[in-house]
């Protein structure tokens, strides 16, 4: 009767020892698994490290551009502009809770007050295109900066072309 507990104990000790011995034998493979694991997580993070869906970066990536350009003293959308706005509309369809502001801008070759109105016209051209492509008007606000906020600072054709624009601003 007295022996039984000791035997049980030794048996348990042996069992424990046996268990303790086994993991070291299986250790080498474990590191291999952990080295491959980071590789798989890196590939998954590069996928998630891309723009968060619905973010401004995502919008830029998916729509290609937040900006459309205009001819001198014009608010007409050319084919390049409508292609960009079509992609913007498709993105906005995917994220129906996102509201945007369209900024209208002009080059420096117009008078200050007229350019405020012209910039507004440009922003509205872009807005109306998005509305016609299924985006609710209530999701789009417009603001004109006229010639107050150029992106290109030269006084030349190239700079003026860059500054005649409507920019769809998605929250960060």
């Amino acid at each position: 009767m007295k022996m039984t507990p000791t035997l049980l104990c030794t048996a348990a000790l042996i069992a424990l020892a046996g268990c303790a011995k086994k993991p070291p034998a299986k250790l080498p493979p474990a590191p291999q698994q952990t080295t491959t694991a980071p590789e798989t997580t890196t590939t998954t993070t590069t996928e998630t490290r891309g723009p968060t869906p619905g973010s401004r970066a995502d919008f830029l990536a998916q729509a290609g551009s937040d900006t459309v350009h205009f001819a001198t003293d014009s608010s007409d959308l050319d084919s390049e502009a409508t292609a960009t706005l079509t992609k913007q509309a498709a993105w906005l369809q995917k994220f129906p809770n996102i509201r945007v502001t369209i900024e209208g801008h002009c080059d420096e070759r117009g008078t200050r007050e007229y350019n405020l109105a012209l910039g507004d016209r440009r922003a509205n051209s872009a807005k109306n295109f998005l509305i016609n492509n299924g985006i609710a008007a209530s999701r789009i606000s417009v603001i004109s900066y006229g010639k107050e906020r150029p992106v290109a600072t030269g006084s030349d054709e190239e700079s003026w072309a860059q500054n005649r624009r409507a920019v769809t601003v998605v929250p960060q």
């Binding site: 008078t111 007050e113 007229y114 507004d120």
Partner: protein
């Protein structure tokens, strides 16, 4: 408020000191009559001639009956400063050629009302401006101002101005104004202020602040801190309030600003962009542009608020309204024909008709306070500032910069101030030009400047 009431003009029967009072007494109180029709007819400046030579004029240092210290400095020093301000005003008008300091003779206090004509004759000066600066017992200053015809040896006009010491420059401007008016027959304009947009920072993101200064650039002070983009300030006729446009909270709107209290108020509380504000001549209404669903039209609203009245309804851009001085008509710009052109309508919006037909585009029309001309920006190649008749006739560009824009009239309707933007840099500066287009000059400002608006003549 007080500031504007501190300046009083007095007949120079109030001439100080017994010695001078003897000379002045015969003139009697009230506005002193001119020296007589003969001298007045002979000595005049033709301001529309354009080619006429500036009139040689002598403006010696003004003596003081007794040198006393005031908060603005000693009356001795002030006498020299006052004559310098007068000299600059008259010189900057382009119509006068003040004698250089070296040719000026010292004037004693008794000589102020008894000029030494023989001494001035050889200098070639046709007109002579003398005066004095005196500290009064009540803490005010008196600036005495006398204009003489050197060849006719006669007095043309005299007037005295009582000012707070801090307002000594206004006494000088008032003196320059009576000299200018007496010799040109035109209204005065030197004692006036300008509100404008002070600019600094990179071209992509200029910081813009409202600032007020005297017409000659003195007494400059900022009104806004530059946190919000501000544009196109314009004085009310009373000069107590200013209307302007601000992008505060990313909402481009027209505001009224009270110069005295520093408070500002939204003019039209609607979810639309409002801009291009301007007061009516009686100060009761504000003309402005509002963009509703992409269409820009001109509206009128009571200066105290209320429901706006729509005055234009074209699908084009209608903006830049400015009242005729009698308030019966409005000149504005519209691209309803395809490009920006000038139009006139009745104050209720009826009778709209185009008045500009020259080559290029015409913009930013402003009706002259005299009612005879409309100033504009002409776009064709570069931007020029010019004037045309109220029916569009006789359009004449007065400047030729890379970008000269946004003219504003002097209170007498003979001078325009505008802003000139540099090619490439985008830096803007204030300039003035007279109606001949000959006398163009920069207006000094601490930083860059745009959107000037000339206020009315101070009382």
């Amino acid at each position: 408020m007080k500031i504007w009431h501190l300046l009083a003009s007095i007949g120079l029967a109030l001439l100080p000191g017994a010695a001078v009072a003897q000379d002045a007494a015969p003139q009697g109180p009230g506005p002193a009559p001119g020296a007589g029709p003969v001298a007045g007819q002979r000595l005049t400046v033709d301001i529309t001639g354009g080619i006429s030579q500036p009139m040689p004029i002598a403006i010696p240092v003004m003596p003081t009956p007794s040198a006393l210290n005031t908060p603005a400095g000693s009356t001795d020093a002030l006498g020299a400063q006052v004559s310098e301000v007068i000299t600059n005003d008259l010189k900057n008008s382009g119509l006068f050629s003040p004698l250089p300091k070296g040719q000026l003779k010292p004037v004693s206090f008794p000589q102020v009302s008894a000029p030494d004509y023989p001494a001035w004759l050889p200098t070639g000066a046709q007109a002579l401006v003398q005066g004095f600066v005196q500290a009064n017992g009540d803490g005010t200053l008196t600036v005495g101002c006398y204009l003489y015809d050197v060849f006719a040896k006669s007095e043309m006009v005299r007037q005295g101005f009582v000012v707070k010491p801090a307002d000594w420059r206004r006494g000088a401007h008032k003196c320059a104004d009576i000299v200018y008016s007496r010799l040109t027959g035109e209204g005065p304009y030197f004692d006036s202020q300008v509100i404008y947009v002070s600019e600094t920072g990179p071209k992509r993101n200029r910081t813009k602040r409202l600032a007020i200064m005297d017409q000659d650039g003195a007494n400059h002070r900022f009104i806004t801190n530059g946190q919000s983009l501000v544009l196109t300030p314009r004085f009310a006729p009373s000069r107590q309030t200013v209307v302007f446009m601000s992008f505060e909270n990313d909402q481009p709107r027209v505001y009224v600003y009270d110069v005295g209290s520093g408070r500002k108020r939204l003019v039209v509380d609607r979810p639309y962009t409002t801009f291009a504000p301007r007061f009516s001549p009686d100060g009761r209404s504000i003309l402005f542009s509002m963009i509703v669903n992409g269409n820009c039209d001109i509206y009128r609203v009571s200066a105290s608020g209320g429901t706006p009245v729509r005055l234009t309804a074209s699908p084009g851009i209608d903006t830049g309204g400015s009242y005729s001085p009698d308030g019966s008509k409005i000149v504005f710009e519209s691209d309803r024909s395809g490009t920006q052109q000038l139009y006139v309508m009745n104050a209720d919006g009826s009778g709209q008709h185009r008045i500009s037909f020259g080559g290029g585009r015409f913009a930013t029309p402003v009706w002259s306070p005299r009612g005879d001309l409309i100033a504009y920006t002409h776009l064709g190649g570069g931007f020029s500032v010019g004037v045309m008749g109220i029916d569009g006739s006789g359009a004449k560009d007065l400047t030729h910069g890379w970008q000269d824009e946004g003219p504003t009239w002097s209170p007498n309707g003979r001078v325009l101030m505008f802003f000139r933007t540099g090619k490439g840099s985008g830096k803007a500066d204030l300039y003035s030009v007279d109606l001949t287009g000959v006398n163009e000059r920069p207006i000094p400002t601490p930083l860059d400047g745009s959107d000037p608006a000339w206020g009315p003549l101070l009382p």
